[in-house]
Symmetry: none
Amino acid sequence: MARRKKQPQSEHRKKITAAAEQLFMAKGIENTTMSDIARMSGYSKATLYVYFKDKEELIGVLVLESMQKLYDYIKSALECSNDTKQRYLEICKALVRYQEEYPLYFKMVLDTINIDFETTRFLPEEKETFLVGEKINELLAVFLKEGMEKGDIRADLQIHQAIFFFWGTLSGLILLSANKENYIGQEMKLSREDFLQQGFGMLYRTIVGENV
Amino acid sequence: MARRKKQPQSEHRKKITAAAEQLFMAKGIENTTMSDIARMSGYSKATLYVYFKDKEELIGVLVLESMQKLYDYIKSALECSNDTKQRYLEICKALVRYQEEYPLYFKMVLDTINIDFETTRFLPEEKETFLVGEKINELLAVFLKEGMEKGDIRADLQIHQAIFFFWGTLSGLILLSANKENYIGQEMKLSREDFLQQGFGMLYRTIVGENV
Amino acid sequence: MARRKKQPQSEHRKKITAAAEQLFMAKGIENTTMSDIARMSGYSKATLYVYFKDKEELIGVLVLESMQKLYDYIKSALECSNDTKQRYLEICKALVRYQEEYPLYFKMVLDTINIDFETTRFLPEEKETFLVGEKINELLAVFLKEGMEKGDIRADLQIHQAIFFFWGTLSGLILLSANKENYIGQEMKLSREDFLQQGFGMLYRTIVGENV
Amino acid sequence: MARRKKQPQSEHRKKITAAAEQLFMAKGIENTTMSDIARMSGYSKATLYVYFKDKEELIGVLVLESMQKLYDYIKSALECSNDTKQRYLEICKALVRYQEEYPLYFKMVLDTINIDFETTRFLPEEKETFLVGEKINELLAVFLKEGMEKGDIRADLQIHQAIFFFWGTLSGLILLSANKENYIGQEMKLSREDFLQQGFGMLYRTIVGENV
DNA sequence: GATGAATGAGGGTTCATTCAT
DNA sequence: CATGAATGAACCCTCATTCAT
């Protein structure tokens, strides 16, 4: 799945991505120039191109890394408890945390990734990102199945569908609450956290099983 | 609804926005240059600046127009029927239609609009867009209230919260289904439409009243 | 000497030049656009070109007007008194006043006007400005002659030369004192006025006659 | 004298400033575009921006260089002789030469430089230019003092004042004679040189001492 | 005469990218 | 491997000016 001689992330690549990360966060991806990254990472501009094919690849790597973090977050979330609802809420927290740490990639992941790998040109990193996404989906599938077995979750639930349903609704909720935090605070008498908490609760009810 | 110029939307502005619209759609906003727009609209680059202060204003006008369309869609949706569920589903359809017609603005509206008008610099178009958004929210508030009165919708629902909940979840769902249409088709045996239909249904259940 | 149908400055032309004047003063000539002038004068941009061939002509007219003012100032200065020194100092004051009122043209008059009318392309206004300049020089010539006759001014003075000498030195002094007013205040303990006063005095001594 | 880059004046900067110089001279600063400079210097437009932050800096460097030349000229002038009058005339010659070689900067130096460094934004080059100007003033101060000690120059002369007096009058004279050379030739029967020579002589008399 | 409409011809500046060394 | 040096290709925007009406 790898390509570039994978020195375990060549130290150099790490320094560069670290610098890029910081700058992307501070000024946005579009507003960060390769010069900026060169300056901050301590390499020359040309050297950046030794380690990365182009700016796109650099971004791709960062997205991939963030996706791997998300995988870790969700994995941890599932290990936190055995209670289905508890675990569900931990997953939500993981997503919130991801959005807070990587606001830029959160959107990208929802937007462009997971494209048709037959028809579209794509970076190897994108494919890998997709694969990590798949692994996350598997994690979620297992979680749902276990919940169903316990009777905590509706038995008639279509697992794949539910996963997508949650991806969509949860990310939509989180994104909105992030972008309109002020507005939410003013209109309702709710903090972002409380608003999300309630939203998460409502969504949970859509899959909740009979025996609850 | 206010226009700066006397001319009832000076034809020219229309031609220009139409060209811009098309190009934004095809290549994205960032990748569309004023030269592109000039070429496609049949005007010279300089003429563009006669009718629009700058690229930003052009975009702002387009977003505003789309928002007004969305308002119309939702208004129509509510007039379609008296049945609460029916009306809800029509609203969802309106959103889907909006996303299909204005995929670019759909994201923008969720992202950046509704900013703090005290602290941030903003275009008059942005403020107007916000105002139209408010009008949409009022429409939705009335809809929910009526549903509650009929007993179709839970009496304990916090209206403002519910509106935001739906903005977030519905748009998240629609966006996801748009971006990953292929993937959805492959993974599940579902068309985008069916997937959305089910999703809309699940979300409706979160607010459904006792007497149903 | 005139060309353009001389309605005695067509009212319209006056309004336009007045607007231009004000803007040139406030923002500099280069930074004032024809649009600015149109807006401020209440005419359309195209109308400006009905009354003036181009921006250059507009400037030319303004310079000419200023030159005519300077003529008036100097004429008045000479009528103030019969004492040669007194009159000299009044001329100096006239120049200072001119520089203060028309700082832009002061420089232009010294720079570019009075060109070779055989070899160079020139505006009719430029020629007229030149002619006013000549009239000023005649005024000064008479002044010097009268001073010489009274014995207040050296008898061996070459009149034309002296006039040029004073144009150069006085304008140099005035310009410098205008541009470096702050610096002068700090370095010496002198106001601009006092510095100029002393300078004018020193220059006067270069032409002063025996019987003083 | 300080250089930002390590390269001992990177050859490239020299080529670029040389091209700019030539073009500024021929067409004026405003009418010279970065494209012009690129073409003439043999670099691409983008390369210009590698070596200079922007057009302003390019100009600043040129002005600074010219100022340094002027310093050299005046220094040499003072070393030419021990006779006060002789030295004075050499200084005048230095100024004339400077004006002939750098007519553009001659004006700029008199116009805008020496600004308040507290209140105004300025380029490092501008500050340096100012500093060279100060060094020139010191040279002149020493010259005047020596002349006073010898009794060649009036003992009651205020040195700072005199320096400014000469800056103003000499530069005014030189500028006028440069701009109206033809006119001078026609009106009087004098070459520019002779006119200046006489003018310099007259000005010298304003400071000449008792024992002459 | 007055102008609304339109524009040609640039302007300075930026940036991802390349390549010889 | 690392980079200094160089650039092509745009980009957004401005302005004096023209011309049909």
